[in-house]
């Protein structure tokens, strides 16, 4: 099998298709895309799929396809069904909700369209889909769907018409930066790995150990369109000269693991992974490695240690993985979203990609919008959009009309941004300047009932439990910072404790070995910067302005 046409050819003996969704033999007039990502699935969207299929069949609609697709984005309103041809979205569809299903069938049979007009949904305004382009469109467990949607054209183009240098040049031109958090220029990283010499191979690793609490972008992408990530990895392998890839996925994402494994098998059968890809000499093999519950494994050197079967403790860099990674060989590590950006970059060109976004932060960014906002879910927006547009336009404002207090970005090493920064554009530089960072893309909106000291304590609790224990400042420093924050939230803290907290935070940030420890004090710094009065209220007045902390006061 060598070309896309071949791969699409039906009747391949070796190909064993997964259970078919109902797709009409003849012409397909409209389709009903039923979200089967984890969010909607947990609200029984699999039963919705079955129920809808039965009704469509009963109504004899032979030109309607009922399909399972990946994440449709608006997770808060699941289970979701989309009728893309008519631009209608049905939310909160329950498997036993006769009226909703009837309305769907009416819509599908050409009657009065039900549900919401998507064009009018503010949630979908401002969004630009590059990474998520195919997420709500293809069946995540059918490579044929992905191929129909133009999948693997980029890989074919890469290996048949481009040199590795040209691929890298395209990625450099796009201005794409690592979507895992640090924002390191992807093209530069690829160049380094490509230049590294190795007699016994190189590796491409996909970091899918999405550990930031409140972040589910990578999970959604893997559950919705795993092929796009594999395609990005294969292109990367071609560009840097690697034949083997690993995807390191959290054990907490069983559905993502299942779909990824099935995607790898199907890609192998279709000739897009394995030997002689697209009829060329290029070969690329991908294996899945499942994490075992350690946040620190998101750090690249810890991740490598874990893939090699050891304790996931980071090591000092240099040497960087690009020079000495898995088994001491040059290793390219990018995260899920970064790889998913690669096929569109190759297909449409770096120039096109670079036209989206801001000066130094090109392209789009996927965010998981969660917390006290009406429209929680998965969104993809161009870099440079303001926080206000995300929270109030896309997010629909705060639940129950409560007062906005902060947005937390960047996970446990990120920060809390206050109201006065709502008009700040979202890009790497602005976020860093504001004392937070992009992180992998978790965005948690907090209202007036959230205490910012308590939030800082929450993240410190997270870090002290997830510290690997290797380096002293992170291991013992996070525990002591937690103790001080706990003391303050109990109303027992003093101004002196606040000073100690600050100097300790400074020491932990400056002297820790890896990003986990270096970033651990960030929630403290950012809340001290923007919400110092809340700390002082706990200390001086023994009150929690948000009413969230239980103060037992008194002397030690």
């Amino acid at each position: 099998m060598s070309t896309i046409e071949d791969a699409r050819a039906p009747g391949e003996g070796a190909r064993r298709r997964p259970p078919e969704p109902l797709v009409p033999e003849g012409e397909r007039r409209v389709s009903a895309n039923v979200c089967q990502a984890a969010g909607c699935l947990s609200m029984q969207s699999d039963l919705v799929l079955g129920a809808l299929r039965d009704r469509v069949e009963a109504a004899g609609l032979s030109d309607v396809a009922v399909r399972r697709v990946g994440c449709l984005g608006l997770c808060a309103a699941g289970p979701l069904v989309e009728v893309p041809e008519l631009g209608r979205l049905f939310d909160h569809v329950q498997p036993d909700d006769g009226a909703a299903l009837d309305s769907l069938v009416t819509t599908l049979s050409g009657g009065e369209p039900g549900g919401q007009a998507m064009a009018k949904e503010p949630f979908f305004s401002h969004q630009v889909k590059v990474v998520l382009e195919r997420c709500g469109q293809v069946d995540p467990e059918r490579v044929e769907d992905y191929l129909d949607a133009g999948g693997y054209e980029a890989l074919t183009k890469t290996v048949t018409t481009m040199s590795p240098e040209e691929v890298i040049a395209e990625v450099v031109r796009s201005g794409l930066r690592g979507r895992g958090g640090a924002g390191y220029p992807t093209g530069l990283k690829w160049t380094t790995v490509a230049k590294a010499t190795s007699h016994d191979g190189k590796f491409v690793v996909c970091n899918a150990d999405e550990g930031d609490p409140g972040a589910f972008m990578d999970r959604s992408v893997l559950e919705s369109c795993p092929q796009q990530v594999l395609e990005g990895m294969a292109i990367a392998g071609y560009a840097v000269g690697a034949q083997h890839g690993y995807v390191y996925v959290r054990a907490e994402y069983p559905l993502a693991v299942k779909r990824l494994n099935s995607a790898i098998r199907q890609a192998e059968r279709s000739g897009f992974l394995g030997k002689q890809i697209a009829g060329t000499d290029f070969e690329f093999h991908v294996e899945v490695r499942i994490g075992a519950g350690a946040f620190v494994c998101g750090e690249e050197t810890a991740l490598l240690a874990s893939i090699q079967g050891g304790r996931g403790t980071p090591r000092p860099r240099p040497p960087y993985p690009a020079a000495s990674g898995l088994w001491g060989r040059p290793t390219l590590i990018n995260n899920v979203e970064t790889y998913a950006n690669v096929p569109p970059v190759v297909m449409r060109g770096g120039e096109w990609y670079g036209s989206i976004g801001t000066g130094k932060s090109k392209g789009t960014k996927v965010f998981a919008l969660a917390g006290a906002v009406v429209n929680t879910g998965l969104i993809e927006v161009p870099m440079g959009l303001s926080l206000r547009q995300i929270v109030f336009d896309i997010g629909g404002g705060l639940v129950g009309g409560k007062k906005f207090k902060a947005v937390q970005t960047g996970g446990p090493s990120g920060g809390c941004l206050p109201e006065e920064l709502l008009d700040m554009p979202i890009d790497y530089e602005s976020l860093a300047q504001a004392g937070s960072h992009m992180g992998s893309g978790g965005m948690i909106v907090m209202d007036e009932s959230t205490c910012m000291v308590d939030v800082a304590k929450y993240f410190m609790d997270f870090c002290r439990e997830e510290s690997c224990g290797k380096c002293l400042p992170c291991r013992a420093g996070t525990v002591q910072m937690y103790g001080l924050l706990d003391k303050i939230t109990r109303g027992r803290g003093t101004r002196h404790d606040l000073d100690t907290l600050q100097s300790l935070a400074e020491m932990v940030r400056t002297t820790s070995l890896c990003g986990l420890g270096q970033g651990a004090p960030n929630p403290v710094f950012s809340t001290l910067r923007y919400f110092r009065d809340e700390y002082l209220a706990h200390i001086d007045d023994h009150t929690c302005p948000a009413g969230a902390c239980r103060l037992d006061g008194g002397e030690r």
Binding site: G211, A215, S220, W327, I444
Partner: protein, 164 residues
């Protein structure tokens, strides 16, 4: 001491599941760096990792026992004790936390008389805590026996647990 060739080691018991473990190890070429993969397999099959399993894996993969133990205790996914018949996992991710996961967990701890990670004396239920299940749009989320329940309240969780 000369190491016994790993391939001829006999498993801790004649339980048939050990064959599956051996197959997994063979597929990984008995390489030391397959340790985590093999531990995953053992836990999937037996539910937890006991000393005899760790010793067997250590010898089969030629990994020092202290390293096997170090790895098995580093990752929160691995269990060194048998788990309860049922599991209840409370997500304590950020979105769940600010939506009251702390109160949920406290309620469960009090009701079951357990700390997170513990199992009831009758072996019926294990209470676990997770670092973000990615179900943030349904916060707070609880997973009971693999099934996700969203927007859980202290009273609804009581009903869920009671039903087990």
């Amino acid at each position: 001491m000369v190491a016994t060739p790993a391939r001829t080691l006999s498993p801790p018991s004649d339980d048939k599941r050990w064959r599956q473990v051996e197959v997994r190890m063979r597929r990984l070429g008995h390489r030391p760096d397959g340790l985590i993969e093999v531990l995953h397999t053992v836990q999937e099959l037996f539910g937890f990792l006991d000393d005899s399993a760790l010793a067997f894996v250590s010898q089969s993969l030629s990994v020092p026992p202290s390293k096997v133990y170090g790895v098995a205790t580093f990752y929160s996914h691995f269990m060194l004790k048998p788990q309860g018949e049922h599991t209840c996992v409370v997500c304590t991710g950020t979105a769940c936390y600010i939506n009251g996961a702390g109160a949920l967990l406290a309620k469960l701890k009090e009701r079951l008389g357990l700390e997170a990670g513990g199992t009831t004396a009758d072996g019926k239920l294990s209470l676990l805590q997770a670092r973000c299940l990615g179900a943030c749009s349904m916060a707070p989320a609880v997973v009971v026996d693999g099934e996700v329940h969203g927007r859980v309240t202290p009273s609804s969780i009581a009903v869920l647990v009671e039903a087990l």
